[in-house]
Symmetry: C2
Subunit: 153 residues, 2 copies
């Protein structure tokens, strides 16, 4: 199952809303239980990142803050806030589409997900998915050239 595709569908929703296109989903036993895309500008809230929203929806759906046994697929390496949220939620496995050289907290700038002192038990799998890096390249190209339009890419 190409679950990263569903995280990318979320990232496209962010693109449509002229937000930095990042998407995330939470999967439990092969079923998507949480979806999120970056809505920082729309909601005027710096915590409304894809991962936080996906975790919130997943927890709401199962009625528990513990996501042990769940997987997250995220198109971009989480920032420290989101990596911290992933630890708090006890997500078991994290699939990351591409790295974040500016704010990545899974190894690129800092590493919060492989730190025994933080009790981090998450397994990280880098998929190096060109679709995940391409959508960001397209977004920033359009943004730089002032031609970003609200349409499905």
């Amino acid at each position: 199952m190409d679950f990263m595709k569903y995280a990318l569908i979320e990232a496209e929703k962010a693109m449509e809303a002229e937000e930095i296109p990042v998407g995330a989903i939470v999967v439990k036993d092969g079923i998507i239980i949480g979806r999120g895309y970056n809505q920082k500008e729309k909601k005027s809230n710096p915590t409304e990142h894809a991962e936080i929203i996906a975790i919130r929806e997943a927890c709401s759906n199962i009625g528990d803050w513990r996501l042990n046994g769940c997987e997250m697929y995220v198109t971009l390496e989480p920032c420290p806030m989101c990596a911290g949220a992933i630890l708090q939620s006890r997500i078991s496995r994290l699939y990351i589409g591409t790295f974040n050289k500016d704010m990545g907290a899974c190894g690129s700038v800092v590493n919060l997900v492989d730190n025994r002192r933080l009790n981090s038990f998450v397994n990280v799998i880098w998929t190096y998915d060109e679709r995940c890096s391409d959508i960001l390249k397209i977004f920033f190209h359009l943004k730089r050239n002032g031609i970003l339009q609200k349409r499905r890419l």
Copy 2:
């Protein structure tokens, strides 16, 4: 002005709700624009920490995700998620009541708030306030002894 008192009032609300008693407020130009207390269990959401809630309320009140120039008072050293949220929000100054030896991300376990690579511009001031450590001690004492009751302490 003893702003930490107002963060402690939030922590007391968490205590009443039998949550780990942590409270936070956001102050802009001497006025409290955001308040939050830990509601992780009540909301079944691991991201509902005091700081995240206080930031959300502050941003909602000013209609902007940028909290430059604002101060946060928090009773307990933020975890990685919350320290990351503080960076994302661009809060300028952070007053911390007491340290968190298990999950503290402002120096105790990791340090996200003094990291040039993360573009962190927050000034951290440790107040070492006994009221902030005492409320936690009382909570865990009551919890251990099974005598936690829903009443104002």
